[in-house]
């Protein structure tokens, strides 16, 4: 699946970028508060590892919780819209409009509603962010079905519910996994950024802003790297689930070949 040979150029580029960064910071004597050297960030990462792990997990839980709530709600509403055209026609224009709204701007308001310290306020922001792409993609997958496939099912006198189960839902799975991938990335961004507007002391976003305010930028950098790692891990988990669930789909087939 992941061959070293094929990924070698990417790995080399990564190493080269780190070396270049380290060298530039040292040669040009760039101030630590502007851009700390990778070695300095690494030092902060190792010395604060326990704390970073703790706050990273705290924020990851918010992201995961929001992901679960938002995706479930998105799928449920999508199934309802596929079942009742009226729901579809009423909701879809709003969903598409809402999808282009910067929902993160509502973070202070949701903090106010559910309490700044309460991780639930962050989960709700993540859930709202994740909801719209999830719903829109699922609706697409449920409705963009080969008309001949529907005719075939009708020739078997299949009910709407059977068609949903046997045709529409499997047809929607690749669309849903696309949404899961988008949602995985968005949920981590949403959780960290909403913490910038205030949150629990043991949250990643709060740590990043507080350390930055005290000019300990190497600590902020280390925490950002933790956020990146969680985000990437989350994405890879979804990718793995996709390969297990829809091995038949062309996108997965292509990746495997």
């Amino acid at each position: 699946m992941i061959s070293l040979k094929r990924n070698l150029p990417a790995i080399l580029l990564f190493v080269a970028a780190i070396v270049l960064w380290e060298t530039l910071v040292r040669v040009l004597q760039i101030q630590k508060f502007l851009l700390p050297a990778p070695s300095v960030i690494w030092e902060s990462f190792t010395t604060n590892f326990d704390r970073l792990r703790h706050i990273g997990w705290f924020t990851a839980q918010e992201a995961l919780g929001g992901f679960a709530i938002g995706c479930t709600a998105g799928i449920v509403v999508a199934l309802a819209t596929a079942r009742w055209t009226l729901v579809n026609e009423t909701l879809m224009p709003f969903a598409i409009a809402a999808n282009s709204v910067p929902i993160i701007a509502f973070a202070p308001i949701l903090n106010n509603w559910f309490g700044v310290d309460n991780p639930f306020s962050k989960m709700m922001i993540v859930a709202v962010i994740v909801f719209f792409p999830m719903m829109i993609n699922t609706v697409r997958g449920l409705t963009l079905v080969d008309p001949a496939a529907i005719e075939l099912m009708r020739s078997y006198a299949a009910s709407e519910f059977t068609i949903l189960r046997k045709v529409r839902f499997p047809n929607a799975l690749p669309y849903m996994f696309n949404a899961f991938k988008v949602a995985a990335t968005l949920s981590m961004i949403g959780a960290v950024v909403s913490e910038y507007f205030g949150g629990n002391r043991s949250a990643l976003g709060v740590y990043i802003t507080q350390e930055a305010a005290q000019f300990r930028f190497q600590n902020s950098w280390a925490a950002i790297i933790v956020a990146c790692m969680i985000g990437i891990a989350f994405y890879l988990v979804v990718l793995g689930a996709e390969r297990l669930t829809i091995p038949w789909h062309s996108s997965v087939r292509g990746a495997r070949a």
């Binding site: 080969d146 496939a149 005719e151 075939l152 020739s155 078997y156 006198a157 046997k166 038949w248």
Partner: protein, 267 residues
Amino acid sequence: MTQPVVTLSNVGMVFNTGSNNKTVALKEINLTIEPGEFVALIGPSGCGKSTLLRLIGDLIQPTLGDILVNGKTAHQARLDQDYGMVFQAPVLFEWRSIIKNVMLPLELRGYSRAEQQKQARALLSLVELTGFENHYPWQLSGGMQQRAAIARALAIQPKLLLMDEPFGALDEMTRERMNMELHKIWQQTQTTIVFVTHSIAEAVFLSTRVVVMSARPGEILHVTNVDLPIPRGDHTREDPRTFESETEVREWLRKANKKTINSAVER
């Protein structure tokens, strides 16, 4: 007297194609198809032959006239799953293996899993796809996919098989081989087949009757009886009667096309 499989009386179909636009797709179609017949529908593009097939299958409903399938209304026949359908595209579900695709209609009927598998295996052997049970549709060639679709249509042992240009997307060589296989299947299963095609050679080779339709509004212009001996095979293609029937169909198709040109001039 045996009961006809399909009876079309005065069937007409008008599509609403806009606020004040109406397209007359079919006009005064009268046709009776007896058990065991192989009837080909041929005509210019857009003459409504596919529409006619969908009407028989109750996938759309006629604006005029009556359709009886096995002595029942087309609607009841669909609910009773009296027919199998094969489309131009194989319409196999990419998330199901070949055998699972063939099992689908049996699954919908609530057969036990063992029974589904047993019947599907027999059908796959009938269409010569043994060994490809666990392949996925995208791993098969177009011709093999269409054979799987035929196996699926035969799964419910229908008295009637509706085929909408099933070999239209295949190359000439594959098409001839598929024609031979379909002919064998027709003989073995004794299913009545209604077959939409563009190809005169295919229509004559397979059919007992060829129905020539005119351009829109689609009407039956002529019915050619093909009395070539059965079973048919390579020898059939060299039979002078093949040539005669093909010529007859071709001449009527020419008239059908003339009507298209005339009506275009009138407009």
